[in-house]
Amino acid sequence: MQAVQLAELLAQSPPGVAEAVEVVAGFDAALAGGLARLGPRHTEAVNALAAAVGASPLGTALADASAKVAGGAIGVPEMTALAGARAALLGAAHDALLARLDGALGRSRAVWEERPAEGEPVPANLLAAARSWLRELAIAGWLGVDEGLASAAEQAVEALWGEPRLRRLAVLLDGMAAELRVSSPVATMDRVPERRWADLWTRAVLLSHSGGWTGGTATVSGRLLPLGVDVHEHGTAVQAQLHAVLEPADGDGPVRLVRVAVSAAKVDTIVGPEVWKLLSAYPTLLAALAEHRSVNVAGMRLTAGGDLLWDEERAEAGEPADPFATARVRLPDAEAPAVAPLDRHPVHIAEPVLVEGYKVKREGTFDLGGQILAVDLDRLPPGGPLTERLVTASTACIGLLRWDAGRWSLQPLAVQSAVKKQPVAAHNGDWALGPTDPKVVKAQVRSGDPVAVLTERAGRLLRK
């Protein structure tokens, strides 16, 4: 990324974004207090949300819902309409932000193609149980959540985990319930994460109707060149998401950006580098991360949203491939994927870029030709070697451009730096096959092997 591109990205916020976010913020405050007994200010906020989508196909449903909610009635249809309107506003904000980003980077993006989903309908009773908890939350508001209400979803979540097609909802509700539990009683919190919890609630309401929207796939073959891996984690789930350039075999379309996500269930006592052990079902992928290799894929499924559905049987380790070389040579011309309609939320903006030639400022930002790029130094996964020190000593960085609360920032995935005048590189996925830093290996030995201990217990106690 060049200074001039960064300048274009950081120039005044795209029109409409601040206004959309303001309406959302009003609704989020109403939700925090509970939708069952809205005061005048919050009634107005709900009406403003309805008015904002008044001209869209959601308009009628929202006019209806806001009138009912103002009268104190909040059922599943009202809750769903409100969640839909909130998602639509943030979807529009997402589009404006992504268009700005694509324009600044000169990145071309594929056009969305609806592909019919595969598979059978999901169990309706599990979705209904989830909706019923989400409705209770909406009625009580975050400020009315206590440990009892936070834990009321336990059985529903347990059942969701048993249904692979509802994994997304299981993971989301489990993560959300854990936050509410640890924050209970929420009324005593110093500050409430209003935007975040309203986001999670909205998302859960949408998922509680369809179960998911991954959609259909097309198959693709070619050479996959890793750029970097983004790691996501909460108490009971971990996901490693690789961003990579795919050079398709002849006739399989343009060189493009793709993602590969693998995930596993976990428990809260499995943390740091241990989490990689839970992904051991994907050895070729983990080796590509740890050893910086390309992977040859043959006939692997690719969604319209750019997610390659990893299949070890269709992957073969290739030659060494330096992610920084890929980022310099292949990334600038790679076509970015379209965004699935329901994934249009600013939190999903995670565009890989290469930044170099910057000066690191004292507060840890990158000064690129006078343009200041914020760097997210909190988002450095403990399962990898990246530290604040390595990032602030770096000379080149592969990262994800993200946007949150009105601000763009760079989430580092890999850095090159000079340590005692020797060039060194560190990547988030370097420890995918186990830590390579002797100090970390030692700490790991000290804390035993939690995955082995718990797996052994599970084998002994859960035997049918």
Partner: protein
Amino acid sequence: MTSGDAGWEERSAVRVVPPLRPRKLAKVPFVELAEGRLQGVVSSGSDIARVYVSSIAAGTHNFSCSTNNNRPCAGAGGSRHCKHLKALIDEAVRQYGFDRVARYLKVDASEGDDLHFLLKGRLEKAPAAMVFSRFLRHLTYLQVPAVSEPLPEMHWFPAWKAVA
């Protein structure tokens, strides 16, 4: 720069659950602050097939220890903690940090105080079966197969840096 606190309420991706510290799990495989108790499962020192279910109630600090088959632990009685309860407290502090454990149990204490000394409850039988079944449920997470379909919702849950 670290993201700091500016605009915390307006952000989508913030850390809400405090990080847990890694600890050895062999002796006390399961600890939780839930259902108004510090509760968990402690391995028997002598019999690999046996575990103890130990718990301490928030507020009253009354405690309980028995095997998962509800046989009372001989070591706990009156106002005396057995070694399982002691191990439960130590491992909870290791996992959650002193403050979080003290706050949940409603102990008026500050870092450096001896929690064993401050928890002055009495033996009061609590249901071991419930806690044990929560432990089993905890273990079932390890048996859920990994998947390669994306979980877009996990973008709300970044892996945050370790806290020293």
